[in-house]
Symmetry: C2
Subunit: 338 residues, 2 copies
């Protein structure tokens, strides 16, 4: 490893001068700067960021904190797309990202503050924590620049990035209503996630705005799992034959509903319209193909990082960014009865 000291020894200047030359200070002679730069180039010098961060407090590193990244989560490319977005912007900005995977239990061993100060992280992006997770509370209360994905909370050092879930869910519901559906069921995920709540609220508002009544009995819970959604909807569809449309809080659950419909010999979309959420790759390959609400997780990651760096540099005017979803209509939606 070649250090400032090496460069100093070789060029004959002091460590101070070498440092200032490399950092572009103007109290160093053009000639000596050139000599120093040449030597640095030749020896492939790069500053040791750890040492740098020790004195400047700027580690050029942010954390991506995600809940429980284990075997099963590999299926979830929402997280991965967010990560790709972060990676792209972070690199552009000369930063680096470290991946922090945590679980509810691990949060007892180490506080959020500790995680951050261990590695001098300048800021953190949080995705997929449960509402009641201590880290989330710490992050919001603390003074570490933080950006939350899909959790709409903001303050001096906390911002968030999300999609217009509210509008897009309402839009989907109203679309179904416009097609003539009167009994629109809702397949919700588990209650740990903020998004479940938001989508459920929006579903109800969508119904109201379409002049339909909200019926609590038309809500199922599938925990964001295909199998659970399948079982829940199987029973549900049997006992609620008046239902002609299903809005699902995730595509995965929509697959479960689709499977149940097939099982019950219901024709999709003739007997039952289905709309999912996420636009996962699979939705284009099922038969019928699935209508869904498409998010842009890559964008969420990218813009989220942008926001985070603004908060870090104190140059941000706003504390939140909203990305537009799109309602993607495929074969699984139609007028009731065909």
């Amino acid at each position: 490893m070649v250090t400032l000291k090496d460069l100093a020894r070789i060029t004959g200047y002091s460590v101070t001068t070498v440092s200032r030359a490399l950092n572009g200070y103007d109290d160093v002679n053009k000639e000596t700067r050139d000599i120093i730069l040449a030597a640095a180039e030749k020896l492939e010098y790069t500053p040791n960021i750890n040492a740098q961060s020790l004195v400047t407090k700027r580690s050029k590193t942010i954390g991506f904190l995600v809940s429980d990244l284990k075997r099963e989560s590999a299926k979830d490319n929402f997280t991965f797309e967010v990560l790709c977005g972060i990676s792209e912007f972070v690199t552009e900005a000369g930063y680096e990202m470290i991946l922090l995977s945590t679980s509810s239990s691990k949060q007892k061993n180490k506080t959020f503050r500790q995680i951050v100060s261990e590695r001098n992280l300048e800021g953190i992006i949080i995705q997929g924590l449960k509402k009641e997770d201590p880290y989330l509370q710490e992050a919001i209360k603390g003074s570490v620049p933080t950006v939350l994905v899909d959790i709409p909370i903001e303050n001096e050092t906390t911002g968030y990035v999300t999609s217009n879930q509210h509008d897009s869910v309402k839009k989907a519901i109203k679309y179904l209503a416009r097609l003539g559906h009167r009994n629109i069921a809702y397949m919700n995920g588990h209650k740990h996630a903020y998004v479940s709540e938001i989508r459920y609220q929006s579903y109800k508002e969508g119904l109201s705005e379409a002049g339909l009544e909200v019926d609590e009995n038309l809500v199922c819970y599938g925990d964001y799992e295909e199998e659970k959604a399948y079982r829940a909807s199987l029973d549900f569809l049997l006992s609620n034959p008046e239902v002609t449309a299903f809005f699902c809080a995730s595509d995965i659950m929509a697959l479960g509903v689709l499977k149940a419909a097939k099982e019950l010999k219901l024709d999709v979309p003739k007997d039952l319209s289905i709309i999912g959420f996420d636009n996962i790759l699979l939705t284009q390959y099922t038969s019928p193909t699935l209508s869904t609400i498409g998010q842009k997780p890559f964008e969420l990651g990218k813009r989220g990082t942008e926001l985070l760096l603004e908060i870090i540099q104190n140059s941000s005017t706003q504390r939140h960014i909203i990305i537009q979803n799109e309602l993607i209509l495929r074969e699984s939606t139609a007028q009731p009865g065909g």
Copy 2:
């Protein structure tokens, strides 16, 4: 941020003693150790890893170097699963992973050595670099502990983790032969990837071992893209009606072949058997469902990290790990003619 100095001030001991107490040295009195530990606990002290690494040269950090992690790569959950595997093991071992995304062009700005020494990385896992990428060469020649995913090269400080692609491809080919197929085509990916070569070799050997002749004309190129595979196989199947089976170097390309077959009104598997590679989620949802070779990327990541840490700690006896793939038979394979 609470430092050793703070603890020293509060407990009345020296920084040295505090440090030694926390690190479990036995030349500190049980009582004083307890006092110090209590204080550390109370103030939520955690060592600053950057400062630590400056003196110990051990940063508790490894890098995951992946080629060009951009928008499109989000679809590729091979990489993501590997990443999840790395994350799991790395956390267990008290390390942290930083994500390094590079492109062929970026590799000109900064050398591999620089990337490593910038952040005192203890080791690096490399996935998806092109054969001719400079970083790959540097990594192999250099003295930084490195683990390559799916690139079988090893030396003093370099190891690799891969699956038994060779055997599993041969197995698939021989399985097709046993079913009675005599003209088995091969859809290859682009030539930048080591795996393309390996799979192609294994395809040929599989044919030979099954007593079939290798015919170079039965090889198509789909560049690991569905669309390209679709177009390539469309022409190919038209002009080679004797072909009754297609082995594809990836599931994505198998989808393309499947689409082409449907387009040509070929019945799969009656007129054409198809085997893919990767076992992506989609293969369970196509119709017919796709036979494929299943890799275990999570395992690759996890065991790869294990190997890397062994190399770092100089405690490893072997320099490579082979994970068993499995041949997964679904509906897309049958005897020729049904």
